[in-house]
Symmetry: D2
Subunit: 473 residues, 4 copies
């Protein structure tokens, strides 16, 4: 019952989990060189908890037992808890080179949502599982998005019944599940996997309304990690992606058995929608928190490279930087405001204001690509025409580069900043960020829908009726 070290976390991943990567089975995810980058990156979470500078934010002491545990596991009770959670996520991501670690954030988002939605014995199971994870300082992944097949058809209307994860059998001891989830982040390097339904379910979809948790090394659970951005990367040319990596899997359940004490929802379609939605509301708050270092990096990088290039005084550059600042700081202000305006449900659990959270997320997502263009514009074509690490490492070539890539500053810092921006916006890591901006934690369309749902329109509608003289004259 103690906070684990980064090494203990890593050691814990060396189990019988079934992981495939680049066409082959990986026996130890902590030693395979590319997966190891993701493991080390995620381990940051454990390192920060022992870093005196971040300890106050990262660790909580249980008032009763005196035990310390990761702040992520604190069930939020009000604005301050949510603000602290947001700041911890922001700080960790900033340390993580603009990439969230996610091995605690998403899992606790799911745990909070479960504790707000399920009842009775199921709630007790969730709480027990929460205590289990908290007490062992575990890392967690969440599998929510089903592969979905033909998206114009409902789960039960798919030709292959396995295209949404489903309860294949119920027994006295537990359930057997079958199907696959996709886009499952950090499953390769987490201890436990929580499964949630992906959407609202109708009465025909009863078998697909299922939520549970299993250890990653469970029989029948197969992880197929995406090879997107595979390959090794030098730190000079890839200052971010050489050390920050997150892995997504196709997560296949081949008749996986789950004992009842780990089953939270089973064949209750009425809970599927509320659970999916409650989770995503927490998770979007997590998202806008972890996007802050990224948008900050846009502002800083645009300012730095413009200065280095000698164009910082140009009117159109200043215009672009002002917009980048407004972008970053609007997302930040809305994120903070979502915490300030938090609501507390009848069980005493706080959640960020849904409308404000969704506006924050939509603002981030819908202006992301324009911001990316602005940053690329400040940097210049060298983003894709410049020299790489092998050139830099050759002394003769470096001499030429030093002469000709000097601008307002020497070539080295300028090329380093250029590579940072290239990594951030014009290569795989940048593509990953861009696609995540559009798709992760729900699409812009989903956010619009939630803005419409969560906005209480009575106030403004009665206001205009009064202005128009409809109700009062």
């Amino acid at each position: 019952m103690v906070l684990r070290t980064a090494e203990q976390y890593i050691e814990g991943l060396r189990d019988d989990r079934v992981v495939y990567y680049r066409g082959r089975r990986i026996r130890d995810v902590t030693t395979e060189p590319e997966l190891r980058i993701a493991v080390l990156h995620a381990a940051l979470d454990y390192r920060l908890a022992r870093d005196p500078q971040h300890r106050d934010l990262a660790v909580v002491q249980d008032a009763e037992t005196g035990d310390e545990y990761s702040s992520y596991y604190r069930l939020p009770r009000g604005s301050e808890d949510l603000l602290n959670r947001s700041r911890l996520i922001e700080v960790t991501t900033a340390e993580g080179a603009t990439l969230v670690t996610l091995i605690r954030e998403i899992g606790t988002d799911a745990l909070f949502a479960l504790q707000r939605v399920v009842s009775g014995e199921a709630l007790e199971r969730v709480q027990a599982f929460h205590d289990h994870c908290k007490g062992r300082d575990l890392s967690l992944a969440v599998a929510q998005t089903d592969v979905k097949g033909d998206r114009s058809l409902s789960p039960s209307a798919q030709p292959d019944p396995d295209l949404y994860l489903r309860v294949a059998k119920e027994t006295r001891e537990g359930i057997v599940v079958r199907g696959a989830k996709v886009h499952t982040s950090v499953s390769v390097n987490s201890d436990e996997l929580i499964v949630l339904p992906t959407r609202a379910m109708g009465p025909d979809d009863v078998d697909f309304a299922v939520s549970f948790a299993v250890p990653m090394a469970t029989e029948g659970l197969n992880l197929y990690a995406s090879s997107y951005s595979a390959g090794s990367r030098d730190r000079f040319e890839f200052p971010l992606s050489s050390k920050a990596k997150m892995l997504e899997t196709l997560t296949v359940f081949n008749d996986v058995f789950v004992p009842w004490e780990r089953v939270f929802v089973c064949r209750q379609p009425e809970l599927a929608g509320p659970l999916a939605l409650t989770f995503v509301e927490y998770h979007r708050f997590t998202a806008v928190s972890y996007k802050l270092p990224l948008v900050d990096a846009f502002v800083g990088a645009a300012s730095e490279i413009a200065e280095m290039n000698g164009i910082a005084r140009a009117g159109h550059i200043r215009d672009k930087i002002a917009h980048l600042i407004a972008y970053a700081e609007t997302v930040r202000a809305l994120t903070e405001m979502a915490a300030y305006r938090c609501r507390v449900d009848e069980r005493g659990i706080a959640y960020p204001d849904p409308m404000t959270t969704n506006i924050a997320k939509m603002t981030f997502a819908s202006q992301y690509h324009a911001s990316l263009a602005a940053l690329q514009d400040c940097a210049g074509g060298l983003l894709v025409t410049g020299p790489g690490d092998e050139d830099w490492d050759n002394g003769d070539i470096r001499q030429v580069l030093e002469k000709y890539f000097r601008a307002k500053v020497p070539a080295e810092p300028r090329l380093k900043m250029m590579h940072l921006i290239s990594d951030l916006t014009a290569r795989d890591f940048g593509g990953y960020h861009a696609v995540l901006a559009v798709h992760a934690e729900g699409s812009i369309e989903a956010e619009k829908l939630q803005i419409l749902r969560s906005y209480e329109d009575g106030r403004t509608r009665s206001y205009v009726r009064r202005l128009a003289g409809i109700d009062t004259e």
Copy 2:
């Protein structure tokens, strides 16, 4: 030493002020029918202070003397004061049919700025004038923008020296000023006029660095009120502009004498920039506060008319309403956040966070016209092809209109809502709001400049340097 009634305020305007409107001198601004609309609209400020529902927000009791005074005169000491001020402005504007009264807001913005910028004896004069206004519960206008002549030239380089207001003479008793200000709001119906410099001044511009206050009925002070939107308006067709009006003047100073106790800045060019800027920062916070009922009206009106037309379920309509909500609520969140993040200067005077305030204002201004288009899109062409009050008042015609303009609701509420939207977006009142969105309280360019100035870029710049491995490796 007591709060005045609306009637007392109106009575106070019946003095020797020199006002021209539509080509002729107006002897009594409280009885001329069109000016009277502006007077009655502004009087709302006094009415609300006596309204039990708003009294708590609108009135403050002096802790020492027990005297009550208008909340506007409370020098802000922290977030709560600023939040309350913002809410009072919002509430008053909401009651004022989306149009701010401005007879207290702008003047106190100026008083706060003066108390932060000037020193010594001048500060005492400002404080005395503040007490004078507070104690008599006066209304105030502010003349800041000079006519400026050729804007590519500095004040002293203009061919006519009067194109920026200037100190023409100093005497033992006071100063004599000459020149003109423009866009001076609420001067026609305020008690006092505060004059501020419009911009930073260089050493050549010493004569133009002047700030003072005079009663409106001062000799040589001539107000030429704009005839924009002149004419009478029926309440059916013009539900807003028939009762809400603000007047701007060309404000000419023909050798106006100002006694020293009313002079705050005289020939101190070094104070001109700081004063202009400090004022506008308070004033932009006022602005985003008074814009909230307007953006709320956009949301409410779009929702109502879409429902009335029977198109509320259409995808593109829902998309537009979601964007209108995000627009309104982003401005609101940023406004509140500017108060939460307020700063307190060394004199103990609080001011809203400049960066957040300017982002709020820029967000409002730069998305205004797109929002207007969205609202017009939800409403339909009837905005400019529908019947007017004279049609409606003719029983035979009304019968036809009632038959054919019925939609999901009867014709009457629908036409009323249509007229509201037309008044708000497609006629003089709408044009006034639109031009104010772009120009009032400084342009979008000015706001960008302030965002750049007030953003502390050290944090993000050192972050990216660290990420790029520049400073640390």
Copy 3:
């Protein structure tokens, strides 16, 4: 069989037509002062045909008979006809102070569409009616948009059957129609009224599928003209709207009898959709042609006022002007290209390329409000705070205005330009243009739909399949 003069056109409007305006019946639309503005504005069409400068564009000589007739009546046979038609519309609108006359354009759009869609005897009737109008040099209005009631319901599902115009009775001599159309432009001052269905109709809507033409002074046909922008306007303050006006009516058919030779479609729901669509395709081409003077005026006015104010060199002003140019010239290039790419149907009738036409229209409509904001930004707050004609007519006041509103140019041209921009963007006339941009000739949504329909996606889809290696490997 000769071209009429403007006076003959005007004289022709003095008949028994039933027009209501501002609550009362108007017996002579050519003398009522406000309606007369619209009449004189539309008469421009006839004046230009006799103006040597425009005659070549405006008049066609029949190759067989040698008779001259208005170019509008020329059935287009290829690109050149369409380009000439577009140029004539552009030139006329430019002369008409940015407002289209529409008394020939829309009617011939309808005649062309009818000749492409109907067949057999009905086609002969249309051709006879075309010859009738051409031979008598008539003016035409088109009533298409029904009042529609609850827009979520189909025509036949409305509680009141009259909410879409319908065939109430068929007799040996003709049909009797009942119901109302709305947004009917130029009906007050045209000779004939063509009626078209507003949308595709299903089998239940058989009674609503009707198209015909009637003289404006037909019994039972009542026009209720909109009072939007009523009132007289001085030319100094309202340089455009004092002389350019278009009127829309609620057009009520109280059991109007139409003889068979004037009936083009009767109870043929299968023709309703094609006819509505074919008409609107011609009409959108008309629209983008008549928008060109308006977008040109935006460019010119922004350039002029910026120069006059002395800010023409400012970076952000140049940026705005560049965008206004790109806006105007993109619409122009697309309009021309729609004619270049015209198609010719099996009857030999040419029509502008639907995809290009709809992109032109959507480009115009979707960037209109942003362009309006850019122009207002270049002009300044004086748009709504400046003096009016009564001020200017008072010599003493004018002296003050001349002194203080001088900028890089004297006050007079500057104020005139300011009033032009105010009329164009910030008052009723500007509101009219803005709402028309969004709603006239179909909404942006309708244009998107047509873009999707008319785009032949086979080319790009097979291209990407080939690129992806799907079809070829």
Copy 4:
């Protein structure tokens, strides 16, 4: 004097050129595996000239001699020549997997510009060089952009005089040049290199005003090819970038000798600006021509993947596709119109209309990132979380993927289309396209400047003056 084969082109590249790539000297650019991709891609130009399907577009027969030569070398005399050139560029790029070959386009852009700007003996040298290249069917690169050092300083004000390419010495036989150019495309795989000045030069910059041509294997000419996107790529996962590649170099001139017959401009600063500008105008027309397959691919890919995912009917997807169509087709229409509106100079050389060309380019560039976001939105997160070629090649894994990635179509075409979109938008190749959109052929700022310069504002300015009653009353 005959058209070369692709093999002859490749063989021609095996000379003594000095090329560095990934830190080492490459002796044979045609065999180094990664450079070879670029060589083979560019060779397409020669293949198409012998392809019966494209021959008519790609080859011209000299009217006098009967010799055939590449159409690229035809000096344009009117619209048709420009349209054909544009179509050839478009077709070649379409065959080249959205990537232009550029080995003829840019060089002839430079040759046309030189023939419009220089005079006398220099013109004869240019013409002789043109004939030389045409007669030998050579490939050409152009080095224009200097490394520029501190961009806030002029060429002569740089601390190191070599930061703009300069004439270091003049001799009887020729000149010696020193310095470096950057972003030089296709230099690695072209026969000749044309050098142009990068910007207007003042009298202090006389040494930097230089233009000439040299064979690539010239002593002292060193090419440092960018390692951006280095590494091998499988065709399943990278359908575009596995076979389409363009290389940019830092192009260093270490006292390179150029004989006089190859010198076109020497120390004539007055020619630098006109030459830079004339070149870029041709080159922007080339650019918008070669962007068409790219924007077409966006439309096609969005349509295909939406259909495959089963979301093609969703309103927001249709909205995005409509915008992508409007984007692609507006660029195409403007490009064609630039050719239709071409101008012919006094030497009889045609050039595309500068205003229309620049609007086309600005439209492409300023909407690129938004279009990219739209396409990514249609595709889904699988762009960055999907399986790669090594997974697909493992039969056991493939079986799992085939089961779970089936949607409306089987997994294989869907994953292929997903990889196409990923390659196009979310990986190195996509980053390359995105940065080129912003920076290649001049920035958006440069395009705005040219729009302002080339727009003849007399027409619209006199129009508004007339409307405002300024000039005529």
